[in-house]
Symmetry: none
């Protein structure tokens, strides 16, 4: 732990963000060596000019760093640096992971299978019910639910995960000792006990407006994909979706009535290529290649068919059969058989090949 | 007109559908020559075996053909054969256009710019309001609205087109002298006067269940694209969408709440690649390459409103709201609110649905 103070100092350097910090680490291996380096060595690092090199040499806020470490100790928080194995894996794979994360609770390797759920702070009744259902379903399947602890969809999603005994992560735009919104203090404690609360802002940071886009970047960065439940046309959730795309993560969006302003943003995302999402299974299906069997959908439900449809199914097998033959064998006119088969195709019971050949799905 | 009887006879031949009829016409040029051909000549046509050739030679139902022609004359209907310039152009471009169409009303070349609108026979309030709005908007842009005159979305769509003075086409699964459902007799007369009613089934044909998939094929065949407003997972509208894809026509689908069974089919269509459709502009944007400037989106003009009108507009959205609620929310008496809303409707800022429900235009 002795080098943690250098990691925190590195994260506090003015004008040195995650990317420049990584450049420095590539040259100097440890943060301690960065602070012991000569100005000439520092200037040679990509993105570090004369001014930044001077700032690093002149760094004097060690008292502040020590105070922060004491505060964290007393409040049972910790700083996790990017060199630690406990640092969230998915976030580490993004282009600009923060050098230090402030954490309350316990990150776990299975949090790799995380889905971000975001949306309106003032959801409709529809948005509320979908957020509750999807967060519960995803958490009970084994996904960690990531959100921003804001009012509305965020809080509903954390609560849904907690309700099923699943894991959840809250990403804050303030310090992790500054619950925001204030009424979510109790929720924050529960999240810390069933996952973790995380921020890239040091303890004591107020929830300034400009912190939230950066916060959103972490929500998507921690997740395999981001699910937007409801969003007006100018919702901040759309910024999170945007980050997800930049980070190569999936965007899931729940469609809604075109007459509802709360679904304008979500319908628009679908039109632009987001995965139309009706239920948790839609998410699992899309993420299957990266889930590697860690999370699976339960067995398909039985398909209900009418007597007439059943009669046709009995004539079919896995082997494609031409419609004229099916018509003859069933004693029904071709047009009627075609109608029934198309209905069965829509139910997912039958599949069609060219030349009007059908087989059991 | 003397050869019309041969066209009708050709359409009546047992086991000779549109594709075999076309093969015969390619060899014999006119229907009359088909009926004068020798069996040996007929057998050589693709798809015409010994049995069908015999049936053609043995065709004796000329009395029935004549009777049909008399019925049509007396009821102001007509049979339009595929060789006529009045035969609908878009339908002619499909793989299997009917040889003869029975028509009441006047087909027009501008019907080439047609959109099929289909959906549930038992729509939700949401489906009703979207069908009303989209059919009115599309018709007033200059699109001909094609539908199946069924209960629910179909009837709403025809009525929406009629309300704006636009053109509309009803495709029946019965003869065009057999209104179905019966309560739509009056609607049918209006459609015949502002477009046309069409069927591939001869006059007197009852609305048998097996006719409807074939009817659906004509709805999509007459249209540049088919718009599905609401559809349950097993809705017949999905068959129409399926035909549209086979015919190379566009499929448009209106998203809806994932909790609504009436939107299951439409959301599924979008997931499978249908164009997510929020308004008429989405349709125009997608069809732009084939519309060749015939139909354009109007520029929105700025509407001047008074302070009081502005107050009401702020309470409204695209979602229809009942007048009592608007009155309560605004603190103004219902009569005053109604007056203001009607003024706004005249200015084009607000639209009204049945049941005194209002939404922003």
């Amino acid at each position: 732990m002795s080098d943690l103070k250098y990691w925190i100092a590195l994260s506090m350097l003015p004008d040195v963000g995650p990317i420049r910090a990584r450049n420095l680490l590539e040259v100097f291996s440890t943060p301690e060596q960065i602070f012991n380096a000569r100005e000439k060595e520092l200037v040679s690092v990509e993105g570090i000019g004369a001014n930044r090199a001077k700032n690093i040499r002149a760094f004097k806020a060690w008292d502040e760093v020590r105070k922060q470490m004491e505060v964290m100790e007393s409040k049972k928080m910790r700083a996790v640096h990017i060199g630690e194995s406990i640092y969230p894996e998915m976030l580490k794979e993004t282009a600009d992971p923060p050098v230090v994360l402030y954490v309350k609770g316990d990150p776990h390797p299975q949090d790799r299978y995380a889905v971000g759920i975001v949306g309106s702070r003032r959801p409709s009744l529809y948005g509320i019910s979908v957020a509750e259902k999807l967060s519960e379903d995803l958490a009970s399947m084994g996904f960690t639910v990531v959100s921003g602890m804001a009012r509305g969809i965020d809080s509903l999603s954390h609560n849904g995960a907690l309700k099923t005994g699943g894991r959840t992560i809250a990403v804050l735009g303030s310090g992790i000792d500054v619950p925001y919104p204030p009424e979510n203090k109790g929720l924050m404690e529960k999240i810390a006990a069933s996952g973790f609360v995380v921020s890239e802002f040091p303890p004591g940071t107020p929830p300034d407006k400009e912190n939230f886009p950066r916060r959103n970047r972490l929500i998507s960065g921690l997740s395999l994909g981001v699910l937007v439940i409801e969003a007006t046309a100018d919702s901040g959730s759309l910024i999170t979706a945007r980050y997800a795309i930049e980070q190569g993560r999936e965007v899931f969006s729940v469609p809604g009535n075109v007459t509802s302003p709360a679904s304008e943003g979500t319908n628009d995302l679908i039109k632009k290529g987001a995965v139309l999402t009706r239920n948790a299974e839609d998410i699992v299906a899309e993420l299957a290649p990266v889930l590697k069997g860690f999370i699976k959908v339960k067995d398909k439900v039985k398909i209900e068919v009418t007597d007439e449809e059943k009669q046709l199914c009995d004539l079919l097998s896995g082997d494609p059969k031409q419609i004229d033959l099916i018509s003859r064998e069933s004693g029904l006119p071709t047009s009627r058989v075609l109608g029934l088969l198309l209905g069965l195709e829509l139910k997912g019971a039958v599949k069609q090949l060219t030349g009007k050949r059908f087989y059991l799905a």
